[in-house]
């Protein structure tokens, strides 16, 4: 029972890890270059969850100094993840741009077809 107890208490981490592994699985298992990038984006999203969840305290407010509020949520993870989101967007955009160029050059976005075309020029 203790095990289920631990899992239930940390359900947010369970979700995070599920999203993380699902993303990585898509990256490694798919041969379609766009789908790989989708998996990569999902994988990166799991990290946003990993950072943000622990920063939130139920009933906590934004850190504004005021006598009415005593419980604050930590704002730093949000700031960090804002940066990470920008990085993620840039990576996805660059990845998609590369896929467009690969499609122009090879006429395919399936990894196996590309490798085949590469062998027989």
């Amino acid at each position: 029972m203790d095990f289920f107890r631990t899992v239930a208490d940390h359900y947010n981490y369970v979700i995070t890890i599920f999203v993380m592994v699902a993303g990585l699985y898509i990256v490694t298992s798919r041969g379609n270059l766009i789908k790989k990038l989708v998996g990569l984006a999902i994988f990166q999203t799991s990290v946003y969850l990993l950072y943000i969840e622990p920063g939130k305290i139920l009933g906590g407010t934004a850190p504004i100094l005021h006598p009415d509020f005593t419980v604050y949520s930590n704002p730093l993870p949000h700031v960090l993840i804002l940066t990470a989101i920008v990085v993620g967007v840039a990576t996805l955009a660059l990845g998609l741009a590369l896929v467009v160029r690969i499609n122009e050059a090879f006429g395919s976005i399936e990894e196996e077809e590309i490798i085949e075309k590469d062998r027989a020029p």
């Binding site: 990569l40 994988f43 990166q44 950072y51 993870p77 940066t83 840039a90 990576t91 590469d118």
Partner: protein
């Protein structure tokens, strides 16, 4: 002057950043090149001044925006950083003059200003990783350098460059994300991102949170291991180096993997090592085993490789193995050997790839079989290649010998005699693949396609000769390289538990 003197750490990063933005707006290739040249020549001046400050006054701490660490971002320069900063910026400055001719061949004129923009961004990221004292800030710089690196590789003339860049993007992003997961776990446990502060707080957190800390170390090791091409996480490297524009390969081989190694060293010794007893975490043995595998398997791949650039790329994987081996040895001589090999390998591999780029410039091929007798047509280029190649093998009188000397000492000090033997044995494989090419280049009659070949113009030849001369100079006078590496190793190991 005194204001600039105080703000050197931020200038090191901000100058190339602004240079990159300015280069993006320039229309003419010549003006973008001039800008990149000026910026890249300023960098070693700043890095040298920082090293001087550290040598005379101890570690430099710079608080961004005036916020005290650990709340604000801190740039912290100690001997190790200053050493790495000087290497990256000096290599960039030495090879920059060669960029013009090499890039003219491989990239269309209207794209060239943006090429220089990407190079300066990459330089910003690499110098940023080396200078920052904040774990999350290092992630941001890691991604700045990585994203610009993907673009630089994709600019290669062959369409396979696109595929190499795409694959590197996937692997590199997974690596950076692993790193940031590790940093996130450390943040959850300690509530801080400042590396010096992390080192203080991990120790007390160890009792209750040892599992999270071990997981963090694992994630950071694998993530950074992907970036530094630690065997068997090196699969992206050979194609990326082969199909990238020649000059980009020269720059990346001397800088990108080296900065990632620095990051690993920083986390391993300064953050984890000073907080917990590293013998509790069996990472060192693991790294040593992978390093030995890299030294042999990658070297054997190089022996059978028909493409000169890819042969050198496999050799890079093997040489990175020597560096990580030194780190894994965890003693004074071993770490000194690893750190000094960061610099030595940077110089040698830059010279080798630059020579390969010069060959490509003159004869438009780097297939070894088609390069028979190239030494008679391009004597200076191949002389420089030979000197750097001898360094790769570890011939006495070159820098490679200095590195391997310390590594063997480190292995013996640990009592691992077979390892000392393996270091020497792997050099024999390097002798085989370097010797194979040198035999083809010097001993055979020039091939038909090489009738027109001649040494490259001075802008390419001079950097090449400087790098080759440095390979010999630093092999004889080790005061600067091994001396500083030794001091850095001493302070890293001295801070360990």
């Amino acid at each position: 002057m005194s204001a600039a003197w105080l703000h050197l750490p931020i200038l090191q990063v901000v100058l190339p950043l602004f240079g990159a933005i300015a280069a993006a707006f320039l229309k003419r290739s010549a003006s973008a090149f001039a800008l990149a040249l000026v910026v890249s020549w300023l960098m070693p001046v700043i890095a040298g001044a920082l090293l001087w400050q550290v040598l005379t006054g101890g570690p430099v701490s710079y608080h961004l925006g005036g916020w005290e660490p650990p709340w604000g971002i801190e740039y912290r320069v100690d001997l190790l950083n200053a050493f790495v900063l000087l290497l990256i910026s000096a290599i960039g400055a030495v090879i920059m003059p060669a960029a013009r001719r090499s890039i003219d061949l491989e990239i269309e004129a209207d794209r060239q200003p943006r090429f220089y923009c990407m190079f300066l961004l990459c330089l910003t990221g690499l110098l940023g990783i080396a200078i920052t004292g904040d774990a999350f800030n290092a992630f941001v710089f890691l991604e700045i350098s990585s994203l610009s690196t993907y673009v630089l590789i994709a600019l290669g003339p062959d369409r396979r460059a696109l595929l190499a860049a795409y694959r590197y993007l996937i692997v590199g992003t997974i690596g950076a994300t692993f790193y940031v997961i590790g940093v996130g776990l450390l943040y959850l446990v300690t509530g801080t991102l400042n590396m010096a502060d992390l080192a203080v707080r991990i120790g007390p957190a160890w009792e209750a949170q040892s599992r999270a800390i071990i997981a963090a170390l694992g994630f950071i090791t694998v993530g950074v291991g992907l970036k530094l091409a630690l065997f068997p996480l090196h699969a992206w490297l050979p194609n990326a180096y082969t199909y990238a524009p020649s000059w980009v390969t020269v720059f990346l081989s001397a800088s990108a993997t080296k900065v990632a190694i620095y990051l690993l060293v920083r986390f391993y010794f300064s953050v984890f090592g000073s907080a917990v007893d590293l013998d509790l975490l069996p990472v060192a043995t693991f790294i040593v085993a992978l390093s030995v595998a890299a030294m042999f398997l990658a070297s054997i791949s190089a022996v059978f490789e028909p493409n000169l650039k890819r042969m050198l790329a496999y050799s890079s994987v093997a040489q990175i193995g020597y560096i990580t081996l030194g780190i894994g040895l965890q003693n004074q001589a071993g770490v000194t050997g690893g750190l000094v090999h960061i610099v030595n390998h940077g110089m040698m591999k830059a010279a080798l790839f630059l020579a390969a780029g010069a060959v490509l410039l003159r004869v438009r091929t780097v297939r070894i079989a088609e390069l028979a007798g190239i030494g008679r047509k391009m004597p200076w280029t191949m002389a420089a290649f030979s000197v750097a190649g001898l360094g790769l093998i570890g011939t006495p009188g070159t820098t490679g010998f200095v590195s391997k000397w310390y590594l063997v000492l480190g292995a013996i000090e640990r009592g691992w005699w077979p390892l000392a033997f393996l270091i020497v044995a792997s050099s024999v494989i390097a002798l085989v693949y370097v010797g194979r090419f040198l035999e083809i280049a010097w001993m055979r009659e020039p091939a038909e396609g090489l009738a027109e070949a001649a040494d490259p113009p001075g802008s390419v030849l001079l950097p090449l000769l400087i790098l080759a001369a440095a390979t010999i100079y630093f092999g004889l006078d080790t005061a600067l390289t091994a001396g500083i590496a030794g001091q850095a190793a001493q302070s890293l190991l001295g801070g360990m538990r």
